[in-house]
């Protein structure tokens, strides 16, 4: 049929566009990494800092936030630290399971302003893994991070926020097998 060739091309385009919708997901992540669109910092373990810049100071403040139905209390020891770019800093977070049952926690980091996200490097973070809690268990986590020396000059302060989710239902959590303390002390 005379229409077949064109029909095939058009159908193929439609299918390709459907696939493209899903390709937008990784594309979006790349795009965010480059532009800092959503302020999501890297979830990978960063490399050692190479040098420290003594010429400027950056305020880094912390905030944590448990989603309504997540029975956790998570708090950083300090509200704010002043760091030099490149300087390794350790901050302690106290976390507690407020419920009487075993729970699994996932912390999701977010940085504001968003464009600073890619300059915040974490070498140890409880957000890298799911954290399993025994009933009412209290845990201490160490966050080890540094701010990149390339941090744009107009960023004088940044906020690192952790949103804490209860993912017990989606993870068939087995307390004994879980990696309770990986990435934390």
């Amino acid at each position: 049929m005379e229409h077949d060739a064109l029909l095939k091309k058009l159908l193929l385009s439609a299918v390709a566009m459907f696939a493209f919708a899903f390709a937008l997901v990784p594309l979006y992540d790349v795009f965010c990494d480059v532009t800092g669109l959503n302020g999501k910092p890297s979830m990978e373990v960063a490399e050692q800092s190479q040098k420290v810049l003594n010429s400027r100071m950056v305020d880094v403040s912390f905030t944590t936030h448990a989603q309504q139905s997540a029975p956790f209390a998570v708090k950083s020891q300090q509200y704010m630290v002043q760091v030099k770019p490149g300087e390794m800093t350790e901050v302690t977070f106290f976390a507690q399971n407020l419920s009487g049952s075993a729970r699994v926690m996932q912390a999701v980091p977010s940085v504001s302003p968003g464009k600073a996200a890619k300059y915040l490097h974490k070498m140890a973070c409880f957000c890298f893994d799911k954290q399993a809690f025994a009933p009412s268990e209290q845990l201490e986590f160490k966050l080890l991070f540094y701010v990149d020396t390339e941090l744009p000059a107009d960023v004088k302060e940044l906020t690192l926020s952790y949103t804490v989710f209860d993912i017990s239902d989606s993870v068939q959590a087995n307390i004994n097998a879980a990696t309770v303390n990986s990435g934390a002390s």
């Binding site: 302020g39 905030t63 309504q68 139905s69 940085v111 302003p113 926020s161």
Partner: protein, 381 residues
């Protein structure tokens, strides 16, 4: 067509009224430098549109009036003129460039949230706001305080109907206040028109905005992003005070928070009457629970479970307290242990167990709630 014309001139007329005052039909000038810049931008672009509109429609209506067949007009044959077409592409383009310059400037100023004097974390949840003064150990929920009777036309509506809350956000004037927005559940949007601040609160992410209020006063806004059933019922009230008064308020709030903790502790030895608990419970239920479970306790079938006749509410006490304290993950049921005092929780549980024909006769004391909280803690030790 005259009607169209009339409408256009009406638009212009009404809007020029708006230019002179903080009116009910134009954008508010607001009380910050930014909001005034935004207002100026709005009026400028509006006037540009009006001028273009008047010119284009004047030409069109001239043609409609004078080039009518009934007036004996004979159609000209011209069409296509590269000169004209270049002209009417280039002129709008130049106007746009002129427009883009002030817009860009204002935008750059708006996006610079650095070096704030005070940071407040704003958390949206279905359907209330939570404010936390970072580094000051003060935080509270801000909930709509308009009584349900007013919504249902049983009482006369107050002056600030739907724009009033139990506890307003207090901020100092003349200081740069930074807001960190996030959400507990769905996307909300924190909007105060007088500050020209509207920022989405996204679950799992933080967003920044800032303001610097010039005049003390009460400013009202609303959630601007559809966030479920009671999206229309989560207003924002900001009370801007002179810095000294703000400091005073902040100190008081810190003391109040301590006192509340002490009062809670004192409650543990007391036995409250059923009447008192029911009264507290009804207030809490209407403020926090009725939005979903309905004042009738019937819930919304398929969306929010009924309280009336519920097995959980009439059954064992322990799971009932547990769900109130800890919520139910993945649903709209929040963990109220963080929002309500033990007295309030005791009250609302007593209320639920003795209302709408639920007839357990049980009276739950604050100490029982505390015991439940302690029990989970002890298990660990």
């Amino acid at each position: 067509m005259k009607a169209c014309h009339a409408v256009v001139s009406l638009f212009a007329l009404l809007m020029s009224f708006g230019a002179t005052s903080n009116s009910d039909y134009n954008m508010r000038k607001g009380v910050t430098d930014i909001s005034q810049n935004v207002y100026q931008l709005h009026m400028t672009i509006f006037l540009i549109c009006c001028v273009i509109g008047v010119i284009v429609f004047a030409v069109m209506f001239w043609a409609l009036i004078h080039h009518r067949k009934s007036k004996g007009a004979i159609a000209a044959q011209f069409h296509e003129s590269t000169k004209v077409e270049i002209l009417w592409t280039a002129i709008p383009f130049i106007i746009l460039v002129v427009m883009a310059i002030p817009a860009t400037k204002t935008l750059i100023a708006m996006e610079d949230a650095s070096k704030a004097d005070l940071t407040i974390k704003v958390t949206g949840s279905q359907w209330k706001w939570h404010y936390e003064y970072m580094g000051h150990d003060v935080d509270f929920y801000s909930v709509l305080s308009t009584p349900r009777e007013q919504m249902n036309d049983l009482e006369e509506k107050g002056e600030h109907y739907l724009l009033e809350v139990d506890k307003a956000l207090v901020i100092p004037t003349g200081k740069k206040v930074r807001f960190l927005m996030t959400s507990d559940d769905v996307i909300h949007s924190w909007w105060v028109p007088d500050f020209a601040v509207k920022k989405d609160a996204n679950p799992g992410f933080i967003n920044e905005a800032w303001t610097n209020v010039n005049e003390a006063g009460i400013y009202r806004g609303q959630c601007a992003e559809l966030c479920g059933k009671d999206h229309g019922f989560m207003p924002i009230v900001v009370d801007a005070r002179a810095p000294e008064e703000f400091e005073l308020w902040l100190a008081e709030a810190q003391i109040e928070k301590q006192q509340q903790a002490e009062a809670s502790a004192a409650l543990l030895d007391k036995t409250l009457s059923k009447e008192e608990l029911m009264a507290v419970g009804e207030q809490v239920y209407m403020g926090y629970c009725a939005a979903c479970h309905q004042p009738t306790g019937l819930g919304l079938p398929g969306v929010f479970p009924a309280m009336k006749g519920s097995a959980l509410v009439q059954g064992d006490l322990k799971p009932h307290i547990d769900i109130l304290l800890n919520g139910r993950p993945g649903t709209a049921m929040q963990a109220f242990g963080k929002q309500l005092s033990i007295k309030q929780i005791a009250g609302v549980i007593t209320y639920k167990r003795n209302s709408w024909g639920n007839d357990t006769g049980e009276v739950i004391q604050p100490s029982q709630i505390q015991a439940e909280i302690d029990a989970t803690k002890e298990k660990e030790q």
